[in-house]
């Protein structure tokens, strides 16, 4: 219904109302009272316009507020009560004034005129509000736009009101009655469907039941009182049309609130079920929204227990979360942690007794420690929380004072616990992905450290060709190799493998590099370097960590190689198409810090021959796996080395790496792969030691 006149703002409407009121007052004061039709017409028109202006003003005002049906009903009640009081007073106090001039006293004297005017205006205002409130109640929760019905009714209200002008002539009285009866019929039709009643909660329905009967009685008594004393009916004398409008609204109120009373009465028994359904729907809506949002675990369990206790009408709810092999109470809602822990442990002890694949009810009567509970929980429910078929914990709710759970609660909790499991799983996955991301960042750092530690290029000696291959694993394995050009004739090399992976391995590797770098400058034998390195590492290495290493010196002048091994893979000497695994005894660095380490550490010296090949490697090669989880193995490794021993160092290492890559192509690389190949190419003259010393003493760099 578009009563709205958008051009006028609220205060303009109010101003219109005020102006009309003043005009009306002036008219009442100065125009002589008369039964003439013209006088009554002008009078009624002015009153009608004032009412209309006030209604338009109120309409805007009401729309500014959020409408709550119970408030509207309450306001109608208040205004009805005001009218009730006014009419009661009009009959007692104002009657005294009326005796002066029995019939038309209101038209004499300013004071009494003012009193009557005020009286009528309060009723006018109240009626306007009640009318508007009915209109709001009517349009509440209506699915279709059925304002036409209401508008038709309003038209008949106006017609019925103004037809009172015709009552002077009794011939035309039937017109007034017809309009009046049609109005009542329309009121009945429009009052039958009160749909908003279903949407209020049980408590409000109870209040409404009480209110509606009182208001219905007030309306009826107002009607009776108003029509009962015609002589002193001030309203009728003020404006017959307004009086008729009053009667119509009174009938509307009586009918509407009677129907409302019975509708509410019939709704009360089902109110609880309706409330719960509404609660479930809102909870599930809220929860499905929650699933899509990622939440902190603590916030999430709190929300879950909050909703769980609502949908099951429980007094308390909490989650027993599986952690470190036990159950821990989290997200306690309306229950102390002591109580929650007691009941949780009771459930944990007896979980085999119950079929905990779905929500079960457990009576606390069997709970031996029931007396220790702070509050008298008598019945609980336990619902499993699962993710990927794995039990993550239980959702528990409890009722106090012997209240029982019913099947409705069970169904609600069954559905809800499924939602809860998904949400918890989501939050866990989110946390995992954060950890994974952080881990990857860490690994980036570790790779960077490793890349900077390893030599960027190989030393270049005439007569010694060097080839190195390093393939880092995703997790960074802790492999390390290095070369040291000690002096013109001495070349040092080291290969090491730090236990463990990732950033911790990378830092130990950095330390190991520092140690070997400095020791290589001062100590002249591999054995002593390793002994000293072990001593230094004692200060920093965790007991669980250790470093396997092999250290060697090649004496370019005397063509010898000096090797010590501390727990590392054997050093392969490839000579004359055969393999010799050099395994001088030695314990890994960091495994033992007593004399035992140095006592068991051996050092071997080998004279180099032409085309001797020294192979250093880490277990990333021999333990490279194929998809059947078989190792590449040292046999295959040695076979490839022998087959390619006549090639130069780079070709050999390329061949080895190609084979390892082919072998393990269907399996992710688990550990770093390091391969260092040194090939001795210096031709020796049979009796030419002196000659060699004299002729090729120059550094071959």
């Amino acid at each position: 219904m578009k009563f709205d006149i958008p051009a006028l703002k609220i205060n303009q409407k109010f101003q219109t109302f005020i102006v009309l009121s003043i005009v009306l007052f002036g008219f009442k004061l100065f125009a002589p009272g008369s039964d003439s039709i013209t006088y009554l017409l002008i009078d009624d028109l002015l009153v009608g316009l004032t009412v209309a202006a006030f209604i338009f003003y109120l309409m805007d005002w009401i729309h500014l507020k959020k409408i709550n049906p119970l408030n509207l009903v309450m306001n109608i009640g208040i205004f009805t009560a005001v009218i009730f009081l006014l009419i009661t007073f009009s009959n007692t106090i104002l009657r005294g004034l009326a005796t002066e001039n029995n019939l038309y006293f209101p038209k004499t004297g300013f004071i009494s005129n003012l009193v009557v005017f005020a009286y009528s205006f309060i009723i006018l205002g109240s009626l306007s509000y009640i009318f508007l409130a009915f209109r709001e109640l009517y349009s509440l929760k209506q699915k279709r736009d059925i304002n036409t019905y209401f508008n038709t009714m309003v038209v008949f209200f106006i017609l019925a009101s103004y037809s009172t002008l015709l009552q002077q002539s009794s011939d035309l009285l039937y017109i007034k009655d017809t309009f009046f009866i049609i109005s009542i019929l329309l009121i009945i039709i429009n009052s039958i469907k009160i749909s908003w009643i279903a949407f209020i909660v049980k408590k409000e329905k109870k209040i409404l039941l009480f209110l509606s009967i009182i208001i219905a009685i007030l309306f009826v008594s107002n009607l009776v009182k108003n029509s009962g004393n015609n002589n002193a009916n001030l309203l009728d004398q003020f404006s017959p049309a307004l009086n008729q409008f009053f009667n119509i609204i009174g009938i509307y109120g009586a009918i509407y609130f009677s129907i409302l009373f019975f509708t509410t009465l019939f709704h009360i028994p089902t109110a609880e079920a309706f409330d719960r359904k509404a609660q479930e729907v809102t909870s599930l809506q809220y929860f499905s929204k929650l699933i899509t949002e990622v939440l902190d675990f603590d916030d999430l369990v709190k929300t879950i227990t909050d909703i769980a206790s609502k949908i099951s009408n429980a007094d308390a709810a909490w989650i027993a979360w599986q952690e470190n092999g036990g159950l821990k109470s989290v997200g306690n809602n309306s229950i102390g942690f002591l109580d929650a822990d007691l009941i949780t442990s009771f459930v944990a002890e007896n979980k085999n007794k119950y079929n905990l694949n779905e929500t079960v009810f457990i009576s606390m009567d069997k709970f031996q420690k029931k007396s220790q509970l702070g509050e008298s929980f008598s019945n609980i429910t336990v619902s499993p929380l699962r993710a990927h078929n794995e039990l993550k914990g239980y959702l528990l709710t409890g009722k106090k004072n012997n209240f029982l759970f019913d099947d409705e609660d069970k169904n609600a909790l069954d559905t809800f616990s499924d939602y809860a499991s998904i949400a918890i799983e989501n939050s866990r996955l989110f946390e995992e992905s954060i950890i994974k991301e952080r881990l990857e960042k860490e690994l980036d750092v570790a790779r960077e450290v490793q890349r900077k530690i390893l030599p960027s290029k190989n030393p270049n000696y005439e007569g010694l060709s060097i080839s190195t291959v390093f393939i880092p694993a995703f997790e960074v394995g802790g492999d390390y190799y290095d070369f040291f050009e000690i002096d013109k004739y001495t070349f040092g090399f080291v290969i090491a493998d730090v236990s463990g992976k990732g950033i911790s391995a990378a830092f130990i590797m950095a330390e190991v590099k520092g140690i070997f770098e400095s020791l290589s400058k001062t100590i002249k034998t591999p054995k002593n370097i390793l002994i000293k390195a072990n001593e230094i590492l004692q200060r920093t290495l965790d007991r669980k960590n250790f470093v396997s290493a092999a250290y060697g010196f090649i004496d370019l002048k005397n063509e010898t190689i000096l090797i010590s091994r501390a727990g590392h893979c054997p050093i392969i000497l490839l000579r004359d198409n055969s393999i010799e695994n050099l395994r001088p005894s030695g314990i890994g660095l960091g495994l033992n810090f007593s004399d035992h380490f140095s006592n068991t550490l051996e050092e071997i010296k080998i004279d180099l021959k032409e085309n001797d090949i020294i192979v250093l490697y880490t277990d990333g090669i021999t333990e490279a796996k194929n998809k059947l989880l078989e190792d590449f193995g040292s046999d295959l490794f040695e076979k490839i080395l022998i087959e390619n021993c006549d090639k130069d160092a780079d070709d050999i290492s390329n061949k080895v790496i190609r084979e390892v890559t082919l072998f393990s192509q269907n399996h992710p690389q688990h550990d770093d792969i390091t391969l260092v190949i040194l090939k001795w190419k210096q031709k020796l003259k049979i009796d030419g030691e002196k000659e060699w010393q004299n002729s090729t003493l120059q550094p071959k760099i």
Binding site: S499, P570, S585, I587, L591
Partner: protein, 121 residues
């Protein structure tokens, strides 16, 4: 993911830990728990049976290093037994035979404990 399992058998003074599957950085904490539990109970004489162990990584080796000292301080030891050649080779390369007593069979290792206990008495 490769599986790993460690179970303990109580032979009175001596406890035997049976290892199964793949012992690496991911499964090492499980074996650490097993050792911690033994120490809590005051069981310091331990034989580790490797018959069923398929693979051990450097992190797996670290577990033994972490507990050996504690065991020895309390007059006990960790003795290793029944390793496959492949597993033995890994221990051997690192020099474990110089640090640990490694036996061919579990019985040998257990008897060694009992002998040394008898000697003390």
């Amino acid at each position: 993911m490769a599986e790993f399992n460690a179970s303990t058998k109580d032979l009175g003074e001596v406890s035997v830990i049976y290892l199964q599957g793949y012992l690496d950085a991911h499964t090492a904490p499980s074996l650490e728990n097993t050792f911690s539990n033994l120490i809590e109970k005051g069981k310091y004489c331990t034989v580790v049976n490797f018959t069923e162990l398929a693979y051990i990584s450097s992190a797996g080796l670290g577990v033994f290093m972490a507990f050996i000292e504690k065991m020895r301080e309390n007059n006990g030891d960790i003795k290793l037994s029944s390793m496959s050649d492949k597993v033995y080779n890994i221990f051997d390369l690192l020099g474990f035979p110089l640090l640990y007593e490694i036996y061919k069979t579990e019985d040998e290792a257990v008897n060694k404990f009992i002998e040394s206990k008898n000697l003390e008495k």
